[in-house]
């Protein structure tokens, strides 16, 4: 019989990407209190995002949005058994160090918070905790992956209850992946140049036909139909922010969105779970907002 090495490796890329894989087919919900986190877990959330204000309130209040208070994050960690994520400002690697020290399960380097660095994202390979980053197109997604992101999400306009931007990002990312799948080897150099992304990652996409890490949908989702829409377009999971706790009946809506995400191809289930769950958040049109979060980061 062979002997095995006794050394365990933590924080490797496969271990980080592994958790992203486990979160597929699920709903990650924004919560601001332990009570909301319990409601999310009761409803079947596969993870929660702990933050001080949901994006709709960040938008309303203005000012600088920063990493959440550690005490609040710890309160949420104590309240639930599912993974807890938290947000750091773009480029703010010290906020990320603190979140890692708190033992959060995933760090979202997020455009919803006010960016802390205008030129650099965080070197995510330096961390044991996995990172998720937003992307509006494939080039941006691949740059984040080359910095160590273990999950990519769309960068739909958070806090608007309007799914149109997230849909644009998903279609752009998945559309370019399809095109790369039909490109010949010489064209891949041109793709890498155009996307401003590492050639090796472009070549990997050509070979596998998919992004090297899971692609989730985030930004503006407010209804079970929105969640199933994102899944049918090709997202592997959905983030729901303001859409749950800014609605009439968060517990019912959360459960309905969880079921819609699993049974996203079954219109009978979608009709059933969309019925009798109260009013969604009101939402805002893209021409009514003065700050587009998606333009933060590069």
């Amino acid at each position: 019989m062979a002997t095995s090495s006794t050394r365990s490796v933590t924080g490797s890329f496969p271990v980080k990407r592994g958790l992203a894989e486990m979160l597929k087919g699920g709903v990650i919900m924004d919560v601001v209190t332990p009570e909301q986190a319990k409601i999310a877990e009761d409803a079947g959330a596969c993870a929660v995002m702990a933050l001080e204000r949901v994006p709709a309130d960040i938008r309303r209040d203005g000012g600088v949005a920063r990493m959440s208070d550690p005490e609040m994050i710890q309160g949420i960690q104590a309240a639930v058994t599912i993974p807890v994520m938290a947000k750091a400002r773009i480029g703010h690697f010290v906020e990320a160090q603190i979140l890692q020290a708190l033992g959060v399960d995933f760090i979202d380097e997020s455009e919803v918070l006010t960016p802390a660095d205008e030129a650099h994202h965080i070197d995510k390979f330096k961390f044991t905790t996995p990172f998720v980053c937003g992307a509006t197109n494939l080039g941006e997604a691949l740059r984040r992956i080359s910095e160590g992101a273990a999950m990519i999400r769309s960068k739909g306009e958070a806090g608007t209850g309007n799914v149109v931007e997230a849909v644009r990002h998903l279609r752009s990312i998945l559309g370019d992946i399809k095109k790369i799948g039909t490109a010949d080897s010489a064209e891949l150099f041109e793709w890498a140049k155009r996307l401003q992304a590492p050639l090796s990652l472009v070549q990997e996409i050509a070979e596998t036909g998919q992004l090297p890490v899971p692609l989730f949908c985030a930004g503006g989702l407010a209804t079970p139909a929105d969640a199933a829409f994102a899944m049918q377009l090709g997202a592997s999971s959905v983030f729901v922010g303001s859409g749950i706790f800014k609605s009439d009946n968060p517990a019912l809506r959360a459960k309905a969105i969880v079921e819609a995400t699993t049974h996203f191809m079954d219109a009978d289930v979608l009709a059933r779970v969309s019925t009798g769950i109260g009013a969604p958040m009101t939402g805002i049109g893209m021409d009514e907002i003065n700050q587009r979060y998606a333009e933060r980061g590069w």
Binding site: G18, E21, D105, T128, T262
Partner: protein, 201 residues
Amino acid sequence: MKPKLHIGVLALQGAFGAHTEALRKCGAEVRLVRAQEDLSGLQGLVIPGGESTTMSNLLVASGLSEVLKRLCQDGFPVFGTCAGMIMLAETILDGRADQVSLCALDIEIRRNGYGRQNDSFEQDIIVHSFDTPFHALFIRAPVIEAIGSDVEVLASWGDRPVLVRTANILACSFHPELVSDLRIHKIFLSIVENFSVTNPR
């Protein structure tokens, strides 16, 4: 040529895609299972990793929990990984009070027993029937605290069992679907094959 084995992968939430790919590489015909009618004609079922509390909710909502419990009692081959092993366990520690179990495997299991994500790890382990180590990924993995007398331990890490079997139920606390090594999926497919000989579809 041998006929293809028909395997279902429970696709309520979690790593069902990776299992599907691994099973297809082993030559199986795979169907995603989200409702009772998806089970017809299957010869075995995989319950993937993911969040066991989420899966538990969805199992109840879809009416699948009672059906799967009966299937397990009837000796139907089921392979559970990580959260899937939690779903199969008789006793769940640190779970939610309302969490359902299929009670198909006489083990006591502690959710997230190896810790949070920062404690997740990769490790070569010894599987008794393999001649080389198996590279295992443990992701917020559950710990087997105790096992019943009819449970066979196929692999351990430290002093804990990590791959166990009882009759046609196979379960592990790590993720064979996340590595290219297909040997553990093949153990399950051989269980399915033996079951199918005596219980034709």
